[in-house]
């Protein structure tokens, strides 16, 4: 499997969420994803980008287009926020420390093929999702 291209973008403010959605949409279309798969990965990206801003205080998205037996799109959201104390709890539907629905993390996980989360208290959070074609 080869990383064909890597693109990095800021996830700092609300308008960035819209930009993230557009870029992810373009990339998934370029990889030949079906409309449903495009919609799923864009929706997951929207949830995670908003989390990065609200809970992580802003961060970055690294987007990797993967080429191999199957094409894929990998998105790495990284922030230097307070970190997540209990990841299992954070992934549970309906749990939120903010004012949302508590569907962001768990929902995003359901919409992609691979989901990884690494977080350290006081250092930040990195969420990596991959959707294969």
């Amino acid at each position: 499997m080869a990383v064909v291209s890597t693109e990095s973008m800021p996830v700092q403010s609300e308008p960035d969420v819209v930009t993230v959605r557009r870029r992810v949409r373009d990339a998934s279309a370029r990889l030949g994803f079906s409309l449903v798969d495009q919609t799923k990965v864009v929706t997951a990206a929207s949830e995670l980008a908003r989390n990065t801003i609200i809970y992580g205080g802003g961060g970055t998205l690294q987007m990797e287009l993967l080429n191999g037996p199957r094409n894929g799109l990998r998105l790495i959201f990284e922030d230097k926020g307070p970190g997540i104390a209990d990841i299992d709890l954070a992934l549970r539907d309906g749990f939120t420390t903010g004012s949302g629905l508590g569907l962001g993390l768990g929902g995003a996980k359901r919409l992609v093929s691979d989901f990884e989360i690494a977080s350290r208290l006081g250092e930040g959070t990195r969420v990596t999702i991959t959707r294969w074609k």
Binding site: E14, P15, V17, V18, R21, R22, R25, L35, V36, Q38, T39, K40, V42, T43, S46, E47, R50, D93, G100, L101, L103, G104, G106, G107, A108, R110, L111
Partner: protein
């Protein structure tokens, strides 16, 4: 500031969301709509989301809020035109939009609003008897 236009058509308000919905715009629409319902004494709100390429949990929550707020203000809300890919994603995300009435397209949505309005008039009439 960017705003989503709200059109008045008789007893109903029509909203077509055609822009990429960012969070603040969604909040503004929520406020504007409740304001308009009160001012215009509208009995129904039709929201066309056929141009929306995604509905995430934030937009989903906004649609739920609008439906709940308008119900309190004695107006029905119908969301129409959801793209199939959006519906599939929404359910997988974990959002069922419970409490939000939906219809396939604008025509079906208007029909639903009219019939529920007529239904409530008949109901009130029979109560007086």
């Amino acid at each position: 500031m960017e705003k989503i236009p709200i059109l008045r058509m008789g007893e109903f308000l029509l909203v077509t969301i055609q822009v990429d919905m960012h969070d603040r715009l969604a909040m503004t629409l929520q406020d504007d709509l409740t304001q308009m319902i009160t001012v215009s004494e509208a009995r129904g709100v039709l929201i066309d989301i056929s141009s929306l390429e995604i509905v995430d949990s934030f937009i989903g929550r906004m649609l739920g809020n609008i439906a709940a707020m308008s119900r309190v203000l004695d107006a029905e809300t119908v969301v129409v035109g959801m793209q199939p890919a959006v519906a599939i994603t929404l359910v997988e995300l974990g959002l069922s939009l419970s409490g939000v009435r939906t219809a396939l397209n604008v025509d079906a949505g208007m029909e639903l609003l009219r019939s529920s309005l007529n239904g409530s008039k008949v109901l009130y009439g029979s109560r007086v008897d």
